[in-house]
Protein backbone atom coordinates (compact mmCIF):
# COMPACT_ATOMS: atom_id res chain seq x y z
CA UNK A 1 0.00 0.00 0.00
CA UNK A 2 1.19 3.47 -0.75
CA UNK A 3 1.94 5.93 2.06
CA UNK A 4 -1.06 8.06 1.17
CA UNK A 5 -3.54 5.19 1.55
CA UNK A 6 -2.03 4.28 4.93
CA UNK A 7 -2.30 7.94 5.93
CA UNK A 8 -5.98 8.01 4.93
CA UNK A 9 -6.78 4.79 6.83
CA UNK A 10 -4.87 6.12 9.86
CA UNK A 11 -6.89 9.36 9.83
CA UNK A 12 -10.22 7.56 9.26
CA UNK A 13 -9.62 5.13 12.15
CA UNK A 14 -8.70 8.00 14.49
CA UNK A 15 -11.75 10.02 13.40
CA UNK A 16 -14.06 7.05 14.06
CA UNK A 17 -12.40 6.48 17.44
CA UNK A 18 -12.91 10.14 18.43
CA UNK A 19 -16.60 10.03 17.45
CA UNK A 20 -17.26 6.66 19.12
CA UNK A 21 -15.35 7.80 22.20
CA UNK A 22 -17.39 10.98 22.43
CA UNK A 23 -20.72 9.16 22.02
CA UNK A 24 -19.80 6.56 24.66
CA UNK A 25 -18.42 9.38 26.82
CA UNK A 26 -21.73 11.23 26.42
CA UNK A 27 -23.67 8.16 27.57
CA UNK A 28 -21.54 7.65 30.66
CA UNK A 29 -21.27 11.37 31.47
CA UNK A 30 -25.06 11.40 31.90
CA UNK A 31 -24.68 8.35 34.18
CA UNK A 32 -21.85 10.05 36.14
CA UNK A 33 -23.87 13.23 36.49
CA UNK A 34 -27.03 11.47 37.70
CA UNK A 35 -25.21 9.18 40.13
CA UNK A 36 -22.88 11.84 41.51
CA UNK A 37 -25.53 14.57 41.86
CA UNK A 38 -27.79 12.03 43.57
CA UNK A 39 -25.03 11.33 46.12
CA UNK A 40 -24.54 15.06 46.69
CA UNK A 41 -28.27 15.39 47.34
CA UNK A 42 -28.43 12.32 49.64
CA UNK A 43 -30.28 10.21 47.07
CA UNK A 44 -29.30 6.96 45.36
CA UNK A 45 -29.83 7.85 41.72
CA UNK A 46 -30.55 5.39 38.87
CA UNK A 47 -29.48 1.93 40.11
CA UNK A 48 -31.98 -0.50 38.56
CA UNK A 49 -30.73 -0.99 34.98
CA UNK A 50 -27.63 -3.14 35.30
CA UNK A 51 -25.04 -3.05 38.11
CA UNK A 52 -24.98 0.42 39.72
CA UNK A 53 -27.29 1.61 36.93
CA UNK A 54 -24.58 1.25 34.30
CA UNK A 55 -27.09 0.24 31.61
CA UNK A 56 -29.32 3.25 32.26
CA UNK A 57 -27.91 5.35 29.34
CA UNK A 58 -28.73 2.52 26.90
CA UNK A 59 -32.28 2.26 28.23
CA UNK A 60 -32.71 6.01 27.80
CA UNK A 61 -31.31 5.93 24.27
CA UNK A 62 -33.58 3.04 23.23
CA UNK A 63 -36.60 4.84 24.62
CA UNK A 64 -35.75 7.96 22.61
CA UNK A 65 -35.21 5.93 19.40
CA UNK A 66 -38.88 4.95 19.40
CA UNK A 67 -40.37 8.31 20.38
CA UNK A 68 -42.61 10.13 17.93
CA UNK A 69 -40.85 12.89 16.00
CA UNK A 70 -43.05 16.01 16.18
CA UNK A 71 -42.63 19.05 13.97
CA UNK A 72 -44.84 22.06 14.82
CA UNK A 73 -47.06 23.28 11.97
CA UNK A 74 -45.48 26.75 11.75
CA UNK A 75 -41.90 25.52 12.01
CA UNK A 76 -39.37 26.13 9.23
CA UNK A 77 -39.04 22.49 8.13
CA UNK A 78 -35.45 22.46 6.83
CA UNK A 79 -33.87 24.61 9.54
CA UNK A 80 -35.87 22.84 12.26
CA UNK A 81 -34.47 19.49 11.07
CA UNK A 82 -30.89 20.64 10.57
CA UNK A 83 -30.47 22.75 13.76
CA UNK A 84 -29.78 19.73 16.05
CA UNK A 85 -27.12 18.52 13.59
CA UNK A 86 -25.55 22.00 13.42
CA UNK A 87 -25.31 21.94 17.23
CA UNK A 88 -23.75 18.49 17.54
CA UNK A 89 -21.22 18.62 14.65
CA UNK A 90 -18.94 21.25 16.32
CA UNK A 91 -18.99 19.21 19.53
CA UNK A 92 -17.87 16.15 17.58
CA UNK A 93 -15.05 17.83 15.63
CA UNK A 94 -13.47 20.15 18.20
CA UNK A 95 -11.27 17.38 19.64
CA UNK A 96 -9.58 16.90 16.27
CA UNK A 97 -6.63 19.12 17.22
CA UNK A 98 -6.10 17.90 20.79
CA UNK A 99 -3.31 15.33 21.25
CA UNK A 100 -4.25 12.32 23.41
CA UNK A 101 -0.73 11.03 23.83
CA UNK A 102 2.73 10.86 22.32
CA UNK A 103 4.23 8.39 19.84
CA UNK A 104 3.01 4.82 20.23
CA UNK A 105 3.66 1.65 18.31
CA UNK A 106 0.85 -0.78 17.50
CA UNK A 107 1.86 -4.14 15.97
CA UNK A 108 4.97 -2.47 14.57
CA UNK A 109 3.05 0.52 13.15
CA UNK A 110 4.26 3.89 14.49
CA UNK A 111 1.64 6.59 14.99
CA UNK A 112 0.85 9.63 17.13
CA UNK A 113 -2.14 9.57 19.46
CA UNK A 114 -4.17 12.51 18.15
CA UNK A 115 -5.89 13.21 14.85
CA UNK A 116 -4.16 16.33 13.51
CA UNK A 117 -1.67 18.61 15.20
CA UNK A 118 -2.17 21.75 13.11
CA UNK A 119 -0.13 24.86 13.95
CA UNK A 120 -3.27 26.97 14.49
CA UNK A 121 -4.95 24.53 16.90
CA UNK A 122 -6.15 27.21 19.33
CA UNK A 123 -7.65 29.24 16.48
CA UNK A 124 -9.46 26.11 15.27
CA UNK A 125 -10.92 25.53 18.75
CA UNK A 126 -12.12 29.14 19.06
CA UNK A 127 -13.63 29.00 15.56
CA UNK A 128 -15.39 25.65 15.97
CA UNK A 129 -16.90 26.46 19.37
CA UNK A 130 -18.38 29.62 17.79
CA UNK A 131 -20.29 27.56 15.21
CA UNK A 132 -22.31 25.86 17.96
CA UNK A 133 -24.11 29.18 18.58
CA UNK A 134 -25.78 28.89 15.16
CA UNK A 135 -27.47 25.61 16.04
CA UNK A 136 -28.96 27.06 19.21
CA UNK A 137 -30.27 30.29 17.69
CA UNK A 138 -31.60 28.54 14.57
CA UNK A 139 -33.36 25.89 16.69
CA UNK A 140 -35.06 28.62 18.72
CA UNK A 141 -36.03 30.61 15.67
CA UNK A 142 -37.22 27.71 13.50
CA UNK A 143 -39.44 26.21 16.25
CA UNK A 144 -41.87 29.14 15.94
CA UNK A 145 -42.50 29.07 19.67
CA UNK A 146 -42.17 32.03 22.02
CA UNK A 147 -40.25 30.13 24.72
CA UNK A 148 -37.88 28.65 22.15
CA UNK A 149 -37.35 32.08 20.56
CA UNK A 150 -36.49 33.72 23.89
CA UNK A 151 -34.29 30.79 24.92
CA UNK A 152 -32.42 30.93 21.61
CA UNK A 153 -31.85 34.69 21.91
CA UNK A 154 -30.67 34.45 25.49
CA UNK A 155 -28.33 31.61 24.61
CA UNK A 156 -26.84 33.58 21.72
CA UNK A 157 -26.23 36.72 23.78
CA UNK A 158 -24.77 34.65 26.62
CA UNK A 159 -22.50 32.49 24.47
CA UNK A 160 -21.06 35.34 22.40
CA UNK A 161 -20.49 37.45 25.53
CA UNK A 162 -18.55 34.72 27.30
CA UNK A 163 -16.68 33.78 24.14
CA UNK A 164 -14.76 37.07 24.39
CA UNK A 165 -13.49 36.31 27.88
CA UNK A 166 -12.68 32.76 26.73
CA UNK A 167 -10.64 34.02 23.78
CA UNK A 168 -8.70 36.46 25.98
CA UNK A 169 -8.09 33.77 28.62
CA UNK A 170 -6.70 31.44 25.94
CA UNK A 171 -4.22 34.19 24.97
CA UNK A 172 -2.27 33.63 28.20
CA UNK A 173 -1.15 30.00 27.55
CA UNK A 174 -0.56 30.87 23.88
CA UNK A 175 1.78 33.69 24.91
CA UNK A 176 3.57 31.50 27.47
CA UNK A 177 4.17 28.71 24.95
CA UNK A 178 4.60 31.14 22.01
CA UNK A 179 2.62 28.71 19.85
CA UNK A 180 -0.99 27.98 18.87
CA UNK A 181 -0.32 24.28 18.39
CA UNK A 182 -1.87 22.20 21.17
CA UNK A 183 1.08 19.81 21.39
CA UNK A 184 3.53 22.74 21.77
CA UNK A 185 1.39 24.15 24.59
CA UNK A 186 1.39 20.74 26.31
CA UNK A 187 5.16 20.37 25.83
CA UNK A 188 5.70 23.82 27.38
CA UNK A 189 4.10 22.52 30.60
CA UNK A 190 6.50 19.62 31.11
CA UNK A 191 7.93 21.09 34.31
CA UNK A 192 5.12 23.27 35.64
CA UNK A 193 1.47 23.45 34.66
CA UNK A 194 0.09 26.77 33.41
CA UNK A 195 -2.69 26.60 35.99
CA UNK A 196 -0.05 27.56 38.58
CA UNK A 197 1.57 30.26 36.42
CA UNK A 198 -1.71 31.65 35.04
CA UNK A 199 -4.31 31.00 37.77
CA UNK A 200 -6.51 33.96 36.75
CA UNK A 201 -6.64 32.86 33.11
CA UNK A 202 -7.37 29.27 34.19
CA UNK A 203 -10.27 30.29 36.45
CA UNK A 204 -11.73 32.63 33.81
CA UNK A 205 -11.41 29.92 31.15
CA UNK A 206 -13.18 27.38 33.37
CA UNK A 207 -16.03 29.83 34.11
CA UNK A 208 -16.45 30.65 30.42
CA UNK A 209 -16.53 27.01 29.35
CA UNK A 210 -19.39 26.50 31.81
CA UNK A 211 -21.21 29.38 30.08
CA UNK A 212 -20.34 28.09 26.59
CA UNK A 213 -21.73 24.63 27.33
CA UNK A 214 -24.83 26.15 29.03
CA UNK A 215 -23.98 24.36 32.26
CA UNK A 216 -25.29 25.42 35.63
CA UNK A 217 -25.01 28.16 36.97
CA UNK A 218 -25.17 29.52 33.39
CA UNK A 219 -28.06 27.30 32.19
CA UNK A 220 -30.38 30.26 31.53
CA UNK A 221 -31.16 29.26 27.93
CA UNK A 222 -33.01 26.24 29.29
CA UNK A 223 -34.23 27.76 32.56
CA UNK A 224 -37.17 25.43 33.26
CA UNK A 225 -39.08 27.77 35.55
CA UNK A 226 -39.11 30.64 33.04
CA UNK A 227 -38.78 29.18 29.54
CA UNK A 228 -40.14 25.59 29.79
CA UNK A 229 -37.03 24.13 28.08
CA UNK A 230 -35.68 27.11 26.16
CA UNK A 231 -34.57 26.62 22.57
CA UNK A 232 -35.40 22.88 22.48
CA UNK A 233 -38.96 23.20 23.84
CA UNK A 234 -40.55 21.89 20.61
CA UNK A 235 -38.06 19.08 19.97
CA UNK A 236 -38.79 15.43 20.71
CA UNK A 237 -37.21 12.02 20.21
CA UNK A 238 -33.65 11.85 18.94
CA UNK A 239 -33.68 15.48 17.77
CA UNK A 240 -34.13 16.44 21.42
CA UNK A 241 -31.41 13.95 22.34
CA UNK A 242 -29.12 15.65 19.78
CA UNK A 243 -29.08 18.81 21.88
CA UNK A 244 -28.31 16.82 25.02
CA UNK A 245 -25.65 14.86 23.17
CA UNK A 246 -24.09 18.11 21.96
CA UNK A 247 -24.09 19.58 25.49
CA UNK A 248 -22.42 16.56 27.10
CA UNK A 249 -19.95 16.04 24.26
CA UNK A 250 -19.01 19.72 24.53
CA UNK A 251 -18.46 19.21 28.27
CA UNK A 252 -16.03 16.37 27.49
CA UNK A 253 -14.33 18.31 24.70
CA UNK A 254 -13.83 21.51 26.71
CA UNK A 255 -12.58 19.45 29.67
CA UNK A 256 -9.96 17.93 27.36
CA UNK A 257 -9.06 21.40 26.05
CA UNK A 258 -8.84 22.80 29.59
CA UNK A 259 -6.53 19.90 30.51
CA UNK A 260 -4.35 20.59 27.48
CA UNK A 261 -4.14 24.35 28.02
CA UNK A 262 -3.70 24.47 31.80
CA UNK A 263 -3.21 21.00 33.28
CA UNK A 264 -0.45 19.66 31.03
CA UNK A 265 -2.73 17.57 28.79
CA UNK A 266 -1.71 13.93 28.55
CA UNK A 267 1.58 14.60 30.35
CA UNK A 268 2.21 13.96 34.04
CA UNK A 269 5.91 14.66 34.68
CA UNK A 270 7.24 11.70 32.66
CA UNK A 271 4.60 9.17 33.74
CA UNK A 272 3.01 9.37 30.28
CA UNK A 273 5.90 7.37 28.78
CA UNK A 274 5.01 4.25 30.77
CA UNK A 275 3.26 1.27 29.09
CA UNK A 276 4.90 2.20 25.79
CA UNK A 277 3.13 5.58 25.65
CA UNK A 278 -0.34 4.23 26.46
CA UNK A 279 -0.25 5.89 29.88
CA UNK A 280 -0.82 9.29 28.16
CA UNK A 281 -4.49 8.73 27.22
CA UNK A 282 -5.14 7.27 30.69
CA UNK A 283 -3.74 10.40 32.37
CA UNK A 284 -5.82 12.60 30.08
CA UNK A 285 -8.91 10.48 30.86
CA UNK A 286 -8.40 10.95 34.60
CA UNK A 287 -8.07 14.72 34.13
CA UNK A 288 -11.25 14.85 31.98
CA UNK A 289 -13.27 12.83 34.52
CA UNK A 290 -12.04 15.10 37.34
CA UNK A 291 -13.10 18.17 35.37
CA UNK A 292 -16.54 16.63 34.58
CA UNK A 293 -17.09 15.71 38.22
CA UNK A 294 -16.21 19.29 39.18
CA UNK A 295 -18.84 20.57 36.73
CA UNK A 296 -21.47 18.30 38.33
CA UNK A 297 -20.38 19.45 41.78
CA UNK A 298 -20.80 23.11 40.70
CA UNK A 299 -24.29 22.28 39.40
CA UNK A 300 -25.24 20.76 42.75
CA UNK A 301 -23.87 23.76 44.67
CA UNK A 302 -24.69 27.00 42.85
CA UNK A 303 -28.10 28.50 42.03
CA UNK A 304 -28.79 29.90 38.56
CA UNK A 305 -27.72 33.45 37.65
CA UNK A 306 -30.28 36.18 37.01
CA UNK A 307 -30.07 37.27 33.37
CA UNK A 308 -28.95 40.89 33.90
CA UNK A 309 -26.36 39.75 36.44
CA UNK A 310 -25.10 37.15 34.00
CA UNK A 311 -24.52 39.73 31.27
CA UNK A 312 -23.00 42.20 33.75
CA UNK A 313 -20.66 39.50 35.06
CA UNK A 314 -19.52 38.63 31.53
CA UNK A 315 -18.99 42.17 30.27
CA UNK A 316 -18.00 44.07 33.42
CA UNK A 317 -15.99 41.47 35.36
CA UNK A 318 -14.68 38.67 33.15
CA UNK A 319 -13.88 40.72 30.03
CA UNK A 320 -11.85 43.51 31.77
CA UNK A 321 -10.19 40.96 34.07
CA UNK A 322 -9.12 38.67 31.24
CA UNK A 323 -7.94 41.66 29.18
CA UNK A 324 -5.89 42.97 32.13
CA UNK A 325 -4.45 39.49 32.70
CA UNK A 326 -3.43 39.25 29.04
CA UNK A 327 -1.82 42.72 29.09
CA UNK A 328 0.11 42.02 32.31
CA UNK A 329 1.30 38.67 30.94
CA UNK A 330 2.42 40.31 27.68
CA UNK A 331 4.39 43.02 29.56
CA UNK A 332 6.04 40.44 31.84
CA UNK A 333 7.02 38.28 28.87
CA UNK A 334 8.46 41.19 26.86
CA UNK A 335 10.45 42.39 29.91
CA UNK A 336 11.71 38.77 30.21
CA UNK A 337 10.45 38.38 33.79
CA UNK A 338 8.53 35.25 32.71
CA UNK A 339 11.10 32.82 31.26
CA UNK A 340 10.57 31.13 27.89
CA UNK A 341 8.79 27.76 27.96
CA UNK A 342 9.01 27.06 24.24
Amino acid sequence: MSDFVIFLIDAAVKAVLIIVGLVLGFAYTTWLERRFIARLQSRVGPNRAGPAGLLQPWADALKLFFKEDIMPTDADRIIYTLAPAVTSVPALIVLGVVPFGGQISLFGYQTTLGLADINVGVLYIVAVTSIAVYGVVLAGWASSNKYAMMGGLRATAQMISYELAMGLAILAPVMMAASMSMSDIIDAQQNIWFVFLQPIAAVIFYITILAETNRSPFDLPEAEQELVAGYHTEYSGMKFASFFMAEYMKMIAVSAIFSALFLGGYRFFGLENLLGGWMGPIILFVKIVASLAFMVWIRATLPRFRYDKLMAFGWKVLLPLSLANAVVTAVLIVLDIIPSFA
Binding site: L8, F65, E68, A116, S143, E163, M180
Partner: protein, 119 residues
Protein backbone atom coordinates in the same frame (compact mmCIF):
# COMPACT_ATOMS: atom_id res chain seq x y z
CA UNK B 1 2.27 19.31 3.32
CA UNK B 2 -0.86 21.36 3.89
CA UNK B 3 -3.05 18.43 2.81
CA UNK B 4 -1.19 16.15 5.22
CA UNK B 5 -2.18 18.48 8.06
CA UNK B 6 -5.77 19.32 7.26
CA UNK B 7 -7.07 16.20 5.50
CA UNK B 8 -7.64 14.29 8.80
CA UNK B 9 -9.80 17.16 10.02
CA UNK B 10 -11.82 17.09 6.78
CA UNK B 11 -12.36 13.34 7.31
CA UNK B 12 -13.45 13.95 10.90
CA UNK B 13 -15.89 16.69 9.78
CA UNK B 14 -17.38 14.34 7.17
CA UNK B 15 -17.87 11.53 9.70
CA UNK B 16 -19.29 13.97 12.26
CA UNK B 17 -21.88 15.25 9.74
CA UNK B 18 -22.90 11.66 8.89
CA UNK B 19 -23.16 10.82 12.60
CA UNK B 20 -25.22 13.95 13.38
CA UNK B 21 -27.63 13.25 10.51
CA UNK B 22 -28.05 9.61 11.58
CA UNK B 23 -28.96 10.75 15.09
CA UNK B 24 -31.41 13.39 13.81
CA UNK B 25 -33.28 10.96 11.55
CA UNK B 26 -33.39 7.94 13.91
CA UNK B 27 -36.70 8.89 15.51
CA UNK B 28 -38.19 9.85 12.14
CA UNK B 29 -37.48 6.29 10.94
CA UNK B 30 -38.21 4.24 14.08
CA UNK B 31 -40.81 6.35 15.88
CA UNK B 32 -44.57 6.27 15.34
CA UNK B 33 -46.21 8.98 13.24
CA UNK B 34 -49.68 9.92 14.50
CA UNK B 35 -50.05 13.69 14.16
CA UNK B 36 -53.09 15.56 15.44
CA UNK B 37 -53.85 19.26 15.12
CA UNK B 38 -53.40 19.90 18.84
CA UNK B 39 -50.16 17.92 18.99
CA UNK B 40 -48.59 19.95 16.20
CA UNK B 41 -49.59 23.34 17.65
CA UNK B 42 -46.76 25.38 19.24
CA UNK B 43 -46.51 24.76 22.98
CA UNK B 44 -47.73 27.70 25.01
CA UNK B 45 -48.46 26.23 28.45
CA UNK B 46 -51.69 24.65 27.23
CA UNK B 47 -53.22 27.89 25.93
CA UNK B 48 -54.13 28.62 22.31
CA UNK B 49 -51.05 30.48 20.98
CA UNK B 50 -51.49 34.25 20.82
CA UNK B 51 -49.90 36.02 17.86
CA UNK B 52 -46.74 35.02 15.98
CA UNK B 53 -43.72 33.64 17.84
CA UNK B 54 -41.16 35.59 15.83
CA UNK B 55 -41.71 39.21 16.73
CA UNK B 56 -39.69 42.37 17.38
CA UNK B 57 -36.66 41.79 19.58
CA UNK B 58 -35.20 44.04 22.27
CA UNK B 59 -32.51 46.23 20.66
CA UNK B 60 -30.04 45.23 23.40
CA UNK B 61 -29.42 41.91 21.69
CA UNK B 62 -28.19 43.75 18.56
CA UNK B 63 -25.98 45.99 20.71
CA UNK B 64 -24.36 42.95 22.33
CA UNK B 65 -23.81 41.40 18.89
CA UNK B 66 -22.09 44.55 17.56
CA UNK B 67 -19.85 44.82 20.63
CA UNK B 68 -19.04 41.12 20.29
CA UNK B 69 -17.86 41.57 16.67
CA UNK B 70 -15.51 44.39 17.79
CA UNK B 71 -13.83 42.37 20.52
CA UNK B 72 -13.82 39.11 18.62
CA UNK B 73 -11.85 40.81 15.83
CA UNK B 74 -9.49 42.14 18.51
CA UNK B 75 -8.88 38.59 19.76
CA UNK B 76 -8.24 37.35 16.22
CA UNK B 77 -5.55 40.06 15.86
CA UNK B 78 -4.05 39.34 19.28
CA UNK B 79 -3.67 35.57 18.74
CA UNK B 80 -0.98 35.82 16.02
CA UNK B 81 0.76 38.51 18.09
CA UNK B 82 0.81 36.16 21.09
CA UNK B 83 2.79 33.61 19.04
CA UNK B 84 5.56 36.03 18.02
CA UNK B 85 5.52 38.11 21.22
CA UNK B 86 9.19 37.41 22.04
CA UNK B 87 10.51 38.13 18.56
CA UNK B 88 8.71 41.49 18.27
CA UNK B 89 9.86 42.66 21.71
CA UNK B 90 9.15 46.18 22.95
CA UNK B 91 8.16 47.52 19.52
CA UNK B 92 5.41 44.92 19.17
CA UNK B 93 4.21 45.49 22.72
CA UNK B 94 3.78 49.25 22.14
CA UNK B 95 2.12 48.79 18.76
CA UNK B 96 -0.36 46.21 20.10
CA UNK B 97 -0.80 48.30 23.26
CA UNK B 98 -2.05 51.28 21.22
CA UNK B 99 -4.53 48.97 19.46
CA UNK B 100 -5.78 47.49 22.75
CA UNK B 101 -6.03 50.92 24.43
CA UNK B 102 -8.23 52.29 21.63
CA UNK B 103 -10.65 49.34 21.97
CA UNK B 104 -10.60 49.56 25.77
CA UNK B 105 -11.54 53.26 25.60
CA UNK B 106 -14.46 52.19 23.40
CA UNK B 107 -15.53 49.62 26.01
CA UNK B 108 -15.31 52.21 28.82
CA UNK B 109 -17.40 54.67 26.76
CA UNK B 110 -20.02 51.96 26.17
CA UNK B 111 -19.95 51.11 29.88
CA UNK B 112 -20.45 54.77 30.98
CA UNK B 113 -23.25 55.23 28.41
CA UNK B 114 -25.08 52.31 30.02
CA UNK B 115 -24.80 50.08 26.96
CA UNK B 116 -23.83 47.12 29.13
CA UNK B 117 -26.77 47.43 31.54
CA UNK B 118 -29.85 45.21 31.26
CA UNK B 119 -32.69 46.80 33.15
Amino acid sequence: MLVQQYLPIAILVLFAIIMALIVVFTSVIFGPHRPTKKKLAPYESGMTPIGPAVRRLPVRFYLVAVLFILFDVEIIFLLPYAVVIRQLGLYGLIATGVFVVILTVGLLYEWKKGGLDWE
